[in-house]
Symmetry: C2
Subunit: 331 residues, 2 copies
């Protein structure tokens, strides 16, 4: 329910990884320039289908549009556009290519009101511009405020990473959340506790052990308001292993096996299907997927790197070179 | 009062930078293998003098020895060795090349008792092996315990980075501290708040804004138990801009001008001399330095990189490519 596919050669590398293992994905719009209209969305959707190749027929990209100050008419038009799913709100500067995002929530008032009326979900990258470990917590009053002011708007707190975000799910009927695999697996110790490993660098930053524990408890406990959103976000290795590395973890190729391993270790395999799709289907009234994926307990080794068609498109995946106890055996 | 000069080609690059601007420096012993005896110390001291070249005559390396389980006799011998200053205690695994450090403080009991009797200072890298942001705070009870059990031992909390460490200075007469320039300047936001910049990665990790504020207040307020210790720690750029980057900030070439700039901005220039040397001289009964350095308010641009005699010895300094409002005008 939260995926970055990028564009160009990177899209060609990334799209098949997601399209092979998933029936669909909510595709984020933070390209340069952003996907911010029905036209740019349709064009991107078509590039995704091309890039997914043979997997395209069994893969539905649920398209999102970068929330700026779209009018009621624009939103009405979007609503009927093939593949459109939701609007994505980025506070300006919060993550990769978010500079065109919202600077002041007042300016988005009319757009949000129209979305509420039209039944268009709001997906939010919820971080303030404060101290990096506090950004999500500082943003929670904004979620609270949105949930109260737009009671019929479905609002998703994307990639929540803190214990502090969880109580809001119980408080507001119209608030939901996605959680990534990496926030269930890692903390700041993995990024910077020993040597500094830029492949664990992402936005929101991996947090404290208590935060990870709280997310695990909620997810393995089967909280029906929490959906899996990988936030898989490839960057070339040249933009990761450098001074000034981009945030983003490329998890797409390992998601299903790594989730199976993690859920099995926590005696929660029974919760995996709902986390992966069931909850989202109920929350957003999505059609039931017909695609069938079989996972079996068979060890595999993750490649050290994935290479695209040009020298720049080389991506180090999550768990590069590591073994995972599960594999996809049937697609 | 806290400097890493390394060895080999890196020592040749680094030693002149420190020896040019400073009358002396407490030199850390975490080489591979560590400086852990009178012999290895004497040999290292001689390599430092060679590397410092023409600056060597005005530069006193205050040598430290890696605390393991040295006997009373070894310490007695060290005490009279030319240039010997103190013992350095690393908890095993806490930082670069600290694997041979202390695993259990019980095993250092006799060595610490002997040091107390002989009047040898104890310098401590005070971090637990817990969550990276909590390591210093978790270590504070160890400082407290050491200060109580060895009341005549001068104990220095090296490179303190948290507000929580400061109250201990008021509580125990025999506890002192060093503070780095980078912990006065930076927080985790500089390392990982925007893009990930490995040149801000160090141990202890840069902390929260409140921690930096508390350190600034103590230092600019003229706390006489706090000494400047740069912890300047060069690593080749190939070991910084990579996956698995080493911790360490190479501040030596910019220390005096950058300190002058920071202290001036905070109306604390009058405190700079005591922070740089006066406090340490009184705490450790060191001779007054005769070396004179003149700083003037003249803008300079810091080099992007310093290159040594082989291709591996290329180091990105702190503030690389940036302007500093002060310069050393006379040495």
């Amino acid at each position: 329910m939260h995926l970055h596919l990028r564009d160009g050669e990177m899209l060609k590398l990334a799209a098949p990884h997601s399209a092979a293992d998933f029936a669909g994905a909510v595709v984020m719009p933070n390209l340069v320039p952003p996907v911010n209209s029905a036209e740019t969305m349709a064009a991107y959707r078509s590039r995704i289908a091309d890039a997914a190749g043979t997997f395209a027929k069994d893969f539905s990209p649920l398209m999102t549009v970068f929330l700026q100050k779209q009018s009621y008419e624009e939103l009405e038009n979007l609503k009927t556009a093939p593949g459109f799913f939701a609007m994505k709100l980025y506070p300006a500067g919060a993550t990769t290519n978010s500079d065109g995002g919202v600077r002041d929530f007042g300016e988005a008032e009319e757009t949000l009101r129209a979305m509420e009326e039209l039944g268009i979900p709001l997906l939010v990258h919820g971080e303030s511009n404060g101290f990096v470990m506090d950004r999500e917590t500082e943003f929670l009053p904004v979620y609270r405020n949105l949930a109260i002011r737009f009671p019929k708007l479905k609002i998703c707190m994307e990639h929540i990473s803190t214990a502090a975000a969880l109580p809001l799910l119980g408080e507001f009927e119209n608030l939901f959340a996605t959680v990534t695999l990496h926030h269930l697996l890692y903390t700041l110790d993995d990024l910077a506790g020993g040597l500094l490993n830029p492949h664990f660098f992402c936005k929101p930053i991996v947090k404290r052990p208590e935060d990870r524990a709280a997310l695990r408890e909620a997810v393995f406990g089967g909280n029906a308001k929490i959906m899996f959103g990988s936030d898989s976000a490839p960057h070339p290795v040249s933009k990761k292993e450098c001074a000034g590395a981009f945030g983003g973890i490329y998890s797409a190729p390992v998601l299903l096996p790594a989730l199976a391993e993690l859920f099995e270790k926590n005696n929660a395999l029974g919760m995996l299907n709902d986390f992966l799709g069931g909850n989202a289907r109920r929350i957003y009234d999505l059609p039931k997927a017909t695609k069938k994926i079989v996972l079996e307990k068979k060890t595999q080794r993750v490649p050290e790197i994935y290479c695209g068609a040009d020298t720049e498109t080389r991506v180090v995946p999550m768990l590069a070179g590591k073994e995972i106890a599960w594999s996809v055996s049937e697609r």
